[in-house]
């Protein structure tokens, strides 16, 4: 066992974890944050996507110890004061969620994109979610939701 200090969604956690456990495992099984999902466990599906210092990574391929010293953001950290994040709102409003399995990872990839490029074009959006597979939606509504979220965020920034 190894003691691991994690900063997840701006909260400090200290956990005793097995050194070979992935960040995904520790988030789900030890911190009870089940938003990140295990799909493939091999870096292909993106269901396990979290942000590490603001950038999307596959938490299934990351040892939990490697997240020490970094800021981890999971889908649970996006809502503020009981209000959904504008990207979450947009996914709901645009009907970009069906079974929902891909959604947390998809939204986090979208967040990383919009933090870097506030008004992305379709090509940039498709590239940003190229590591997130969705079996249900056909992606069109997801792309629309991300574009709408970009506009909503720009409006709040402008206000």
């Amino acid at each position: 066992m190894r003691k691991i200090a994690l900063n997840v969604n701006d909260e400090e956690y200290s956990v005793e974890a097995k050194p070979h456990h992935s960040l995904l495992h520790v988030l789900r099984e030890q911190l009870g944050l089940t938003g990140a999902k295990e799909g493939c466990g091999e870096g292909h599906c993106g269901a396990c996507t979290v942000l590490l210092d603001g950038r999307p990574v596959n938490s299934c391929l990351l040892l939990a110890v490697e997240a020490e010293g970094a800021r981890v953001t999971t889908i649970e950290g996006l809502a503020e004061g009981g209000r959904l994040h504008p990207i979450q709102e947009a996914f709901i409003n645009q009907g970009a969620v069906q079974c929902g399995y891909c959604t947390p990872g998809m939204i986090l990839s979208a967040k990383a994109l919009l933090d870097e490029i506030p008004d992305p074009g379709e090509k940039e959006i498709r590239e940003a979610i190229s590591g997130n597979l969705c079996r249900c939606t056909g992606y069109v509504k997801i792309v629309e939701a991300i574009r709408a979220a970009g506009k909503a965020l720009a409006a709040t920034r402008g206000a």
Partner: protein
């Protein structure tokens, strides 16, 4: 994930002494995007995984008079967006950007891509046409070798047990040089190459080819250069016929295999097509980079 013991040496020096002591029983962890998958699939079963705490000397980029040094643990994303790489080594930037997914590129390292020694490693062809060299450290000392000699077979890099790849050195290409990278995959995102091609051409004052280098990925046991095709181009005035001839020589030099992604025959045919296309592309870029 199968069990292993995690060792966390403070720096490269400590890691080297640990690795030399443990030999085949230990594996170095870089970005983990190959290692974690291989561990999970049980393809490798090391007793120890070694994670270096301070990556000083293994990360970052430095440009000197002779060229660019890339720390082995620079991430693929960093390589893709680095201004000096985009400007001086665009084929490498492009290869990095064409790799995997945003998530993987944020973790995967350029050193890991080379040490994993996949025939399809995307950063290999552009580095090969730039005559890159690799710095390798072991407990006994350091050495530098051409990247060309580094690939020995599928999954086999020229590393002794306990050695670490510390940096990649890419000489400055100089003026009048154009380079291109083209990758063919089944789909656009996160696809291992069916064929990948990098080309570097230097354009002489009289419109002749002063220097020609061609490298291919996924069409032989290792990424490789094709000297016969390069010789065909050197010192000749560039023309579409010449490019087609060289491409034909490149296609006959490769030794592709059949697999789930493509047949050997298709790979060979596409190797020719892509080399021809990359030659034309590189020649145009070389013209743009001519002084005056």
């Amino acid at each position: 994930m199968p069990k292993f013991e995690l060792l966390e040496p403070a720096d490269t020096r400590e890691a080297l002494s640990l690795l030399s002591e443990l030999g085949e029983r230990a594996r170095l962890l870089a970005g983990g995007t190959d290692l974690m998958v291989n561990l999970r699939r049980g393809r490798i079963r090391p007793e120890y995984v070694v994670r270096i705490l301070s990556k000083e000397g293994l990360q970052g980029f430095s440009t000197g008079s002779t060229g660019l040094r890339i720390g082995a643990m620079a991430t693929i994303r960093e390589v893709a967006v680095h201004p000096a790489i985009k400007e001086r080594f665009p084929a490498l930037a492009r290869a990095a950007l064409s790799m995997a997914t945003p998530q993987v590129r944020n973790r995967a390292t350029i050193g890991g891509n080379l040490c994993n020694a996949s025939p399809a490693a995307d950063t290999a062809p552009p580095l090969l046409v730039h005559d890159a060299e690799v710095d390798i450290s072991g407990a006994a000392g350091s050495r530098t070798m051409p990247l060309r000699d580094f690939f020995q077979g599928p999954g086999a890099a020229a590393l002794q047990a306990g050695e670490i790849l510390t940096a990649i050195r890419v000489p400055d290409p100089g003026t009048g040089v154009g380079a291109a990278f083209i990758k063919l995959g089944v789909r656009k995102a996160q696809e291992i190459a069916i064929v990948s091609v990098a080309v570097l051409l230097r354009r002489g004052a009289a419109g002749q080819v002063d220097e020609a280098r061609i490298a291919l990925g996924a069409v032989a046991p290792t990424p490789l250069r094709v000297p016969a095709a390069e010789d065909e181009l050197r010192s000749r005035p560039f023309s579409l016929e010449l490019a087609a001839r060289a491409a034909g020589l490149a296609a006959s030099a490769v030794e592709p295999i059949d697999d789930v992604r493509a047949t050997a025959e298709y790979r060979r045919a596409m190797a020719g097509v892509l080399v021809e296309r990359a030659l034309v592309d590189a020649w145009e870029k070389a013209a743009e980079n001519c002084e005056g």
